[in-house]
Amino acid sequence: MRPEDWRNLGLTDEEFQLIVKTIGREPNHVELGMFSVMWSEHCSYKHSKAVLRTFPTEGERVLQGPGENAGIVGIGDGLAVCFKIESHNHPSAVEPYQGAATGLGGIIRDIFTMGARPIASLDSLRFGSLDDPRVRYLFSGVVSGIAGYGNCIGIPTVGGEVYFDPCYRGNPLVNVLCVGLLEVDKIKLGRASGVGNPVLLVGARTGRDGMHGASFASDELNETSEQKRPAVQVGDPFMEKLLLEACLELMNNHEVLGIQDLGAAGLTCALSEMASRGGTGLDIDLDKVPCREEGMTAYEILLSESQERMLMVVAPEQEAVVHEVFARWGLNAATIGRVTADGILRIRKDGEVVVELPAKSLTDGAPVYHPAAVKPAYLETSAVLDLKQIPDVTDANQVLLELLAAPNIASKEWVWRQYDYMVRTCTVEGPGSDAAVLRIRGSKKGLALTTDCNSRYVYLDPYTGAKIAVAEAARNLVCSGAEPLAVTDCLNFGNPDKPEIFWQFKEAAKGMSEACRALKTPVTGGNVSFYNESYGEAIYPTPVVGMVGLLEDVEKRCTQAFKTAGDYVVLLGETYDELGGSEYLATCHQLVKGLPPQLDLAKECAVQQTVLAAIRQGLLHSAHDLAEGGLAVALAECCFGNEIGAQIELQSQGLRLDSLLFGESQSRILVSVQAEHLPSLLQLAAENNVPTFTLGRTGGERLQIQVDGQPRIDLPIAEAKATWREAIQCFLK
């Protein structure tokens, strides 16, 4: 082997030496290809592993933590929720439709491979500025890709988020989360067990598509990305629908000993992981793999990332039934080998052994790096924000309209109206409120789902920003009436070999861990996506938090929209002069500066507990967390749902007007409450030491806000709503 051989595949000289040392000889060309994908960042987590170990992963409800295809938490009554988030950033940057579509397809397979019926998905998206035509192309392509795949397979896309910032121009983020439901005693794992048992490859035929997708995802985007385009696969949601139904039918009615989807690094990854987890070996004959194209080499078959395929191990007497079930669904099932006892992955082609490697050398043998971490220099200057240099708001009406039209705050209806969020008829709160809520058939319970991350905060202070992402996700669930259960996270960062980037990563992980511990929401799985850079510029560090919550009684759910006129509007939580990192500064002053709002986890817990208890006691008509755009934007959003206005009186108490109206202080929730329940709410808050401010009443057709007796905002709801609703659409006409 020559150095180019491994270097071209993305392996360092040291890594090659480690391979030689591990297996006691030089790998052959096929084996080297397998190491290169399995030891890529995407599959081996070699840069992040050590940091990920610091996450809290245990809790009473956790049935499956990190390490399998998806995490699982119990929700009582013998039921469990299975969920996981995945990134498909790089493929989406070159082919937005197929990149996003296959991203969704991949995460759906991760869910049903655990034995769960996928019931919903969410998409968390980041793009550059909408005034750039290339960005609009990527944005609309990604959205229609998610729609195309999700709608066809019949899994509702019930929520998500979209942010726009120039830092994502060349490297958009496409993170997709899927949630499934299963019975606790039906959990399936990706392990190859039982010496002599057959190994079956089911679903689509294997083609030459997506070679080296895993390595592609572990590289920065630049001019040569164009040449790497064969890494893009085309998804076939129809095939996946059949695969999903066939696999679930099989798993529900027959014994399946182990099952694993084929994703990044294709057959190589599935074979080595299943053997490694099961402590077994596999003897595989590649001539048995159904191929789409003629003359495929061992290398190509092993590294192909053709979509819509699964690998499973069953007892010999079940083999016939697998073929029968798959035939009924019109699908291929091929027995490609057997489980062995020696822990070796032995792979044959044309009668010859072409690979002979310890399975664990591919999965656990990868090096674990502890990269250097250095605080980035930009933080010295970005932290400096002198509010005295910034004139306070004079025309608050105008600023509010400007913020409502800012793409980060404007309604994302243009996106979600393209998604079938209703199929399966369990979506009782679709997109448009703080969290989506699903009912569970045959039970009183419900699930609430959300994804969150304000990456501007994380950029300005990775530790605090990541803490806020977790807190905001939990707050969103609480506002819908759910108890937050657990987290799946997608950590999107730049190149970890740069000490500044790795510092961001470590700080963010620390913040997330702390918040997850305080809020009792363990991390059950997730995904790391590094190398999100284009032309040397990294994206803002973006640790997306996906969170699942439980409603014991789905009838007792809550949404953000005001429900009737005459209710009291109450703010829980305190407002400070905190404008750093705000949407207001970015939109109205073109400034991304200062420190993000501070987060006190004890206060956060108190506010959340208060609101959750109030919703459970039936005290509230609405609840909405304060996020981008602060109090004024939150009030407007509460008015929009049912087009009910509000008359609000605020006391500035020494705060700047812009801080008061548009600042983004954390741990605040805005609720509306019927007059008769007001005392109970105030008492509940007092018991939890949560400050409350009774701001006014709902009603009328306008949002009117007075500050210290002075009218500051007065807008007809219909007009403000139209501005907010049409802003994104206007860019895409």
Partner: protein, 84 residues
């Protein structure tokens, strides 16, 4: 005027699920002599242009910029004269 008749197909190595589904369906309709089906797009773009070379260059440019996705698609086209 010139009309460009543009045929767009997925690259040979790219999965064509539509073509596969139709191939299967034709065979179950009893057409057993079908060897292969591929499905793509067909576009007709009429240009107010009389110069063939100029039209050809323009069509190529439009295909690269908007009409096709070179990542996964290939195209061919013909130019035919049409009346106003």
């Amino acid at each position: 005027m010139l009309k460009a008749q543009i045929k767009v197909l997925l690259k040979k190595s790219v999965l064509d699920p539509q073509g596969q589904a139709v191939e299967k369906s034709l065979s179950s309709l009893g057409y057993h002599n079908i060897n292969h089906v591929r499905i793509g797009k067909y576009l007709e773009v009429t240009l107010e242009e009389t110069d063939r070379a100029a039209a050809e260059a323009q069509v190529r440019e439009m295909c690269a910029r908007l009409l096709t996705n070179p990542v996964i698609e290939d195209y061919t086209f013909e130019l035919v004269e049409v009346e106003q």
